[in-house]
């Protein structure tokens, strides 16, 4: 008995000693650029973009410092900043050699036209068409101005005439985009019927691309039984407003929505980014492993929670579009299939971090991000890794599959955790009809769709080559059981036959 008691005591002591020891865990430093693998694990990545320079008002040599700038527009080597707080637009020319900027002119007023007010009041966005005409969203003057390159008034776009819209509504055009035919697409504060589309002669055409209204059955039921007073307090089921738009090189409009809810994004009822065609249909391809909504982990961290809030979007000529998240100050690049190409950035005061990012544009592969709080433009240029990935994508689109394969292999060597590189190699191999090797690359990164494409071809080729074997196998499968049955029957008949009975 005594031995048992001492045994228990020793056991309890041993447990207490082991339970007392703690394991120390080191927090790992996350890299600036990251990506998600197939399982949604965050994978560190070499930098895709790096900060080339950041331009404050002083560095640009402005006469008056910028005040909460809201808009950015790039055309060829010209960059336009909408200096909202100072009611002006700054036109700058980029020096291609060292990436610096030279201020060409300050646009503060226009000439001609029989309008009373010839200055701007809180301009929020600008666009320039191929002829050099300016389109300016003059927000507090309730108009969109079209000026020629010498700032002569051409025409204005005013509040849309539509039965569904109250004439007394305060029309506040906020963001705009112009297509090659001179049609204007505009987002106005407080108008949630979609984008306002004007014909090139200034007439209101229609609302296009309203976001689908999302509500669930319980919301509906609750609303049915609520009193009038309760109902007024509830969130009404209306389409959400777009935050910003961008016209890409093919004439499609990329539109992003910032006021998204986590559950709607995860349920897939709301999309943070939409690509609208002329009819306003969403034609964005979402074949990626994860939906196009930026960070897939939305938990609280550093006092920030909730989904990525895309405040602007820009699309490059290789169909990679970059979304700017104002919630966590990050940039997310997606390819034309909806795969996350890169993600980087953060909130802070260092180079490459933002406090209140509000606009993004691209010139070729370079990215320009405007921070309204810092009044600063950050220039990003691609690193070797970024260049190689873009090269590989462009080569693939041009049909140079062996060059694309080589570029993807280079990208894979630079970043072994980059799923797109493996899949890219596989896709290039698939086009070169090297099915077996392609299958191996797809299998490594769990790309079932592409694997199946390669395997289907591989299987077809294998059967064609071994048709004799396949036919032989089929014959064996069909004939052998038949033959066995026949032999058995004969044997049975022989056994039963009278002749052999003794």
């Amino acid at each position: 008995m005594k031995r048992i008691i001492t045994g228990i005591a020793a056991f309890a002591l041993a447990i207490s000693v082991f339970a007392g020891s703690t394991i120390s865990v080191c927090a790992k430093d996350k890299s600036y650029t990251y990506n998600y693998d197939y399982w949604g694990d965050v994978q560190d990545s070499p930098d895709f973009y790096m900060v080339q320079d950041s331009f404050t008002s002083g560095a640009l040599g402005l006469d008056v410092p910028m005040k909460s700038p809201q808009g950015l527009f790039a055309k060829d080597n010209l960059l336009y900043i909408v200096d909202t707080g100072n009611n002006r637009i700054i036109e700058m020319e980029k020096n291609a050699e060292d990436g610096s900027f030279k201020v060409l002119r300050y646009i503060t007023e226009f000439k001609g036209g029989d309008l009373e007010v010839k200055t701007f009041a809180t301009p929020t966005d600008v666009s320039v068409d191929d002829d050099g005409n300016f389109y300016i969203a003059d927000k507090d003057n309730s108009r969109i101005l079209k000026l020629d390159n010498d700032l002569n008034y051409i025409m204005q776009f005013t509040i849309p005439v539509d039965p569904s819209l109250d004439e007394k509504t305060n029309f506040q055009p906020n963001k705009l985009a112009v297509d090659t035919a001179g049609r204007v697409y505009c987002i106005a504060t407080g108008i949630n019927k979609g984008l306002i589309k004007y014909e090139s002669n200034g007439d209101f055409a229609s609302f296009v691309g309203a976001t689908p209204v999302s509500y669930n059955f319980f919301d509906y039921l609750k609303k049915k039984f609520a009193t009038q007073a309760q109902r007024e307090k509830m969130i009404s089921f209306v389409p959400t407003e777009y935050e910003n738009i961008f016209m890409d090189h093919e004439g499609f409009v990329y539109a992003c929505i910032a006021s998204v809810k986590e559950e709607d994004l995860k349920a897939g009822t709301v999309h943070a980014v939409r690509k609208l065609n002329l009819l306003g249909d969403d034609i964005l391809v979402r074949n990626g492993e994860f939906p196009v909504y930026g960070d897939i982990y939305m938990g609280t961290g550093g006092g920030i929670s909730g989904p990525s809030r895309f405040t602007d979007v820009t699309c490059m000529d290789n169909d990679v579009y970059v979304c700017l998240d104002r919630n966590r100050g990050r940039l997310f690049g997606y390819d034309d299939q909806g795969n996350l190409v890169f993600a980087f950035g953060g909130n802070g005061n260092r180079d490459g971090y933002f406090r209140q990012p509000s606009a993004i544009v691209n010139m070729g592969r370079d990215l320009y991000v405007l921070d309204s709080l810092d009044c600063c433009i950050t220039t990003f240029v691609t690193t070797e890794f970024g260049d190689v990935v873009f090269d590989a994508m462009e080569q693939f689109d041009r049909g140079e599959y062996d060059a694309s394969e080589a570029s993807w292999i280079h990208a894979k060597d630079l970043n072994g955790n980059y799923d797109l590189a493996y899949i890219g190699i596989g896709r290039a191999l698939l086009r070169q009809e090297k099915y077996k090797e392609a299958m191996e690359y797809f299998e490594v990164k769990y790309d079932a769709d592409n694997y199946s494409k390669a395997y289907k071809q591989y299987r077809k080729v294998w059967i064609e080559e071994n048709i004799g074997l396949v036919v032989a196998a089929l014959i064996v499968i069909v004939v052998v059981p038949l033959a066995i049955g026949k032999i058995r029957r004969i044997k049975r008949e022989i056994d039963m036959a009278d002749i052999f009975r003794i």
Partner: protein, 218 residues
Amino acid sequence: MIAALKNKSKWQRYFKSLKFALYCLTHPLDGFWDLTHEKRGTYAAANTILILTLLARVMGLRFTSFVIKPLYWEELNMFTYIASILFPLALWVIGNWALTTLFDGKGRLGQVYMATCYAIAPYPLIQFPLMIFSNFVTVDEVGFYNMVNVVSLVWAVFLIIFAMQQIHEFGPGKNILFTIASIFAMLVILFILMLFFSMISQGIAYFISLGRELLFRL
């Protein structure tokens, strides 16, 4: 032990009882009656089927095509994975026996176990060829795989229900009633287990804190 292994008639009986599982697949009512009443089933065969089932499940992790079952190895715990079959099986056998023995069920605990093991025979029988088949499948053809997969499970469930009916000598209505009741019995056992587990862990925590206190004082 070795003498038992060399006993030829025992081996013969073992293989015969294992082969009888195939008969039960297609003739459940007749087969499961004979299983206990004619003593045509053996525990050795039942254990073999169970081991094959576990093997099919574990091997399926590795040898099923990633097109159908992509597996995140970092998250896999082999022990809980195996327990995810053994634990419900044990709950079922105990719960079913504990309940039916109160209501004229003729089956004994061991017989319930044996019959259940015989009844899950379709699972390994279908899963092993299916595992090989999965590697020749593209995403468009996954439907075929899923259909056969479901067949293996539904077949096993039906066999379990029929097996219990024959083991306990119940009528069909009573059998269905007790099948549902057994599931509730499983839940009750689970609840009691969790209750005991939390009580025991609190008891251990008490002794640990006592030991800590002693260490501080000494």
